[in-house]
């Protein structure tokens, strides 16, 4: 799973230090200014410059002084209820039926032998929910107001003391309500589907002569081995845990009854995780041991991870804040999880794997560090390790016993260093690939937060759809909203092109390059510097415009945190809070634009 560094920023870190608030204010100001200018120009063309200014400022004044303060909860509720009833009577519950059918037959197509069955099930239900809700939001929101205008039912409403703010809020809340009810239903069904779908049981197939070790039966396309030891508190009862296969273990209990061992194997454990990670910031040292921001690049192998070379002074150093004993579940252990990537320049010992070492270091005094703990990199899996709180190390050049919290941390700060031992091999890592595990959250709660992300996504689609429907006809509003969705979901490439990150120039330059078959990395050479400069200037203008448009489009994908749930990571509170704030900001933006269009629209104009 790919977790970007910005996803584990604290809420205020994002809001203040990473300029979240500032960006919001700048976008609001820019959109406001642009909207004012466009409205003024349109009004000026029809009414002249003086009246145009009066018209535009009057709408702004009415929004702030009359329509917002005068918005009535009862009217908004009435309109929301109407939208809700309208949607229900248009048989949107069919969506729920579709979902149930998908769930009924999903079991046929999901591979029960998959390495991470929970991930497969969770991804399936959450992706299905996401698509269905987005489509639902799209169809409901885009056609309602245009249909009301076409059927003239809006005339009966507009001749009541109903303000545009209430019409827009009513629509958004009504359709949001329908979506929320459906989402709740889908969420409950999904939870049941996942928790029941991953259940399986084993029986003991073979056991040793003493009955204290054995193998389980081959079920759900895997088997486990186990070893039992006698429970100190309950003589005659033997307990043990199976080995981990496909991300889970089972508790095994054996009881000696009449000279024979009777076994009981518990349900799978560890499949539905919600790990609470404490992430740190990542730095590297280069081959000379000097600090750098990034490691080595191994080409297109991965852009996400940076690499360190084996058997060199290169290392990856994570700095963690707030490392206090109270944050961790164990008093004597510090749980760490790492999922490093190995990049091999030769086959090496393919059975053993690439070796590395990990040690803890004082944040300011490098001479205080723990002993090096060797490990074999576990690829494509999360490697869970517990480091003793009291461990051997060196302080002031002297080997001695160290305590993590007393000797290795300062103001809650701790450094964890990873090195690769094998010469010619490399370790790849990103900031999120090593973290301290603060414990486990509840899977159900984590799934709820995942569905909250899908809810925000759906609400945004509804907001954008309602906004477009205030000035476009139903089908056109739907196409416009769908275009925003495509850009919001898959806008990464478009964004890179618009920002000029992808080489090859802008649209005009690219068009010229195609017939000329010029490589993108080579400067355009038309033999006419003036023409080349002109093309670049025009391209810059187009690209800047595109860039601005893409910036204003909500990035729908970022609200989808289903991957966290599927990969067993707790969706942290600051991330949820950030998404809620961003969703609210987009709601305000679309609401304001929708208000301006509805306020200045002649409702009865044919």
């Amino acid at each position: 799973m790919r977790i970007e560094e910005n996803q584990f920023w604290g809420f205020f870190e994002w809001l203040i230090f990473q300029y979240g608030l500032l960006q919001g204010i700048v976008v609001a100001f820019a959109v406001g200014l642009l909207g004012f200018i466009i409205c003024y120009l349109v009004s000026m063309a029809r009414n002249g410059p003086g009246e145009a200014f009066y018209n535009v400022t009057r709408v702004v004044y009415e929004l702030l002084a009359r329509d917002l303060p005068g918005t009535s909860g009862r009217r908004v509720y009435a309109l929301a209820k109407l939208s809700f009833q309208e949607a229900i009577r248009r048989k949107v519950l069919v969506v729920m039926a579709v979902f149930v059918v998908v769930l009924l037959f999903a079991g046929w197509f999901l591979d029960p032998g998959a390495n991470n069955i929970a991930q497969l099930y969770i991804s399936c239900v959450m992706t299905g929910t996401s698509y269905l809700l987005i489509l639902l939001g799209l169809f409901l929101s885009c056609f309602s107001i245009p249909n009301d205008i076409k059927n003239k039912t809006i005339q009966t409403i507009s001749t009541k003391p109903v303000r545009p703010t209430e019409m827009i809020l009513g629509r958004i809340l009504g359709f949001g309500g329908v979506g929320t009810v459906l989402l709740l239903g889908m969420g409950l069904l999904s939870y049941q589907f996942v928790t029941r779908g991953i259940q399986h049981s084993h029986e003991v197939e073979e056991f040793a002569a003493d009955g204290l070790s054995g193998t389980t039966s081959y079920d759900a396309q895997h088997e486990h081995t186990f070893e039992l030891i006698e429970d100190e508190n309950e003589p005659g009862v033997y307990r043990g845990t199976t080995n981990e296969v496909k991300g889970h273990v089972h508790q095994v209990t054996g009881r000696m009854v009449d000279g024979t061992m009777e076994y009981e194997i518990g349900p799978p454990e560890g499949l539905l995780a919600a790990r609470i990670p404490i992430y740190g910031s990542l730095q590297f040292t280069d081959r000379q041991g000097n600090l750098t921001e990034g490691g080595l690049s191994v080409g297109y192998e991965s852009e996400y991870q940076s690499y360190i070379e084996g058997a060199s002074l290169m290392s990856a150093i994570w700095t963690f804040d707030g490392v206090r004993q109270s944050r961790f579940p164990f008093e004597d252990k510090l749980p760490i999880e790492l999922s490093l990537k190995a990049f091999r320049t030769f086959k090496g010992d393919i059975v053993t794997g690439v070796q590395g070492e990990i040690y803890l270091q004082h944040p300011t005094d490098e001479r205080i560090q723990s002993e090096r703990i060797p490990f074999i990199v576990k690829e494509f899996a999360v490697d869970y390790r517990e480091i003793d709180v009291d461990l051997n190390g060196t302080k002031d050049g002297q080997p001695q016993k160290l305590n993590i919290y007393d000797d290795l941390t300062e103001d809650g700060q701790l450094k964890v260093v990873v090195r690769c031992r094998d010469p010619g091999q490399y370790f790849g890592m990103a900031a999120a690939d090593l973290y301290l595990k603060a414990g486990e959250s509840t899977f159900g709660w984590n799934m709820f937060k995942g569905f909250l992300g899908l809810w925000m996504q759906m609400m945004l689609v509804i907001c954008v759809g309602v906004m477009f429907s205030t000035f476009l006809s139903g089908p056109v509003a739907m196409v416009a909203t769908a275009a925003c969705l495509v850009l919001g979901f898959f806008g990464g490439m478009a964004f890179d092109i618009a920002s000029g990150e992808i080489p090859g120039g802008g649209p005009i330059e690219s068009l010229i390059r195609i017939p000329m078959q010029t490589g993108a990395m080579v400067d355009l050479d038309l033999g006419n510097p003036v023409l080349e400069k002109t093309i670049r200037i025009v391209d810059s203008g187009i690209m800047y415009t595109l860039f601005s448009v893409f910036q204003a489009i909500p990035s729908f994908e970022q609200f989808n945190t289903a991957e966290f749930v599927a990969y067993g990571y707790n969706i942290n509170g600051p991330l949820v809070a950030r998404h809620l704030v961003m969703a609210f900001a987009y709601f305000m933006l679309t609401f304001t634009i929708a208000y301006f269009f509805l306020k200045t629209r002649e409702i009865a104009a044919s």
């Binding site: 005068g70 109407l82 009577r89 003239k152 005339q155 009966t156 507009s158 109903v162 002649e602 009865a604």
Partner: protein, 307 residues
């Protein structure tokens, strides 16, 4: 009977100048434009009318004369190209004026998936009416329009007459001071039509103001106190109905207690013609004849083009 009238468009100051002005239009005009802002059609030209409290004011005119445009401009559903409209001394685009208005559109534009109770509950919520009053008012209005037996049926199952009735009920849900009725008797049977007219008169007697727009000339003649006749977006006639319908170049005599001599002279005259004298006075024409007389020079539906 074809008769010429002497009635002229009256000044803005009506006979009931002392009562409160409920609707006022000043130089109100509307030009419909296409997407590019070019003039398409002039729907209304410089309309000046005043509707006063407690009167039934009729708007008459052939198709395309600007009646509906006027009503929409008064309610803020359209924006004027020139002039302004005021209702209860507020600008027509001020939504707070709607708190005192009840509107029955030409076709009851209601949500077909709601039933009568839900419809009235919905519209009463839009007037911010508290829950305790909503049900009471809805019950009263459903009884008044005679839809008790169909109160739980979806409006999609209603006949046209029933739809008009529930439309009227929603227009009265806020106990309005001004009632705007667009073709109120359309689709109604004769009994329903009579009931509607009686109701309009009763509401007027209760002190409400009614602006009525209709093609049913007999209706207008029956209920309106004053009428404005629009044609091709212009105001052609405005005044009290009885004045407008008076034929001034014909004398109608109602006489009693004449001398025998006079009686015999008149009687001789009539007798020579084989008839009997009952009265001598100015006879009135019908609204239909007056209307046709005004619009006969143009085809109905034609509007002056922008050019």
């Amino acid at each position: 009977m074809s008769a010429t009238t002497e009635a002229q468009p009256e000044s803005l100051v009506s006979e009931s100048a002392e009562s409160e002005v409920v609707i006022e239009t000043r130089n109100l005009g509307k030009i419909y434009r296409d997407f590019w802002g070019r003039k398409k059609v002039t729907a209304l030209k410089a309309l000046d009318i005043e509707v006063r409290k407690g009167e039934i004011f009729g708007l008459l005119g052939p198709n395309g004369s600007g009646k509906s445009t006027t009503i929409k401009l008064i309610q803020g559903l359209l924006f004027p190209t020139s002039g302004r409209a005021f209702v209860f001394e507020k600008d027509a685009r001020d939504v707070t004026k709607n708190e005192r208005i009840g509107y029955l559109p030409e076709e009851s534009y209601l949500y077909k998936f709601l039933n009568a109770e839900e419809t009235l509950d919905f519209y009463s919520r839009l007037f911010d009416i508290p829950a305790s009053e909503r049900k009471e008012r809805a019950d009263k209005l459903i009884r008044m329009v005679g839809l008790q037996s169909a109160r739980r049926r979806q409006l999609r199952e209603y006949s046209k007459g029933m739809t008009r009735r529930i439309g009227l009920a929603q227009a009265l849900i806020n106990e309005p001071d001004l009632l705007i009725l667009d073709e109120p008797t359309t689709g109604m049977d004769p009994i329903g039509s009579r009931e509607m007219k009686d109701l309009i008169i009763r509401l007027r007697d209760e002190g409400k103001t009614i602006l009525l727009c209709s093609h049913q000339l007999a209706d207008v003649q029956d209920v309106c106190d004053r009428v404005a006749i629009l044609h091709q977006g212009e105001l052609r006639e405005l005044g009290r109905v009885e004045n407008l319908l008076k034929v001034r170049d014909v004398t109608e005599v109602h006489a009693k207690g004449l001398s025998d001599d006079t009686k015999s002279k008149i009687a001789d005259l009539i007798r020579n013609d084989g008839g009997e004298v009952v009265s001598i006075d100015n006879p009135t024409t019908s609204m239909e004849e007056l209307f046709l007389d005004i619009v006969q020079d143009d085809k109905p539906g034609s509007r002056p083009s922008a050019s």
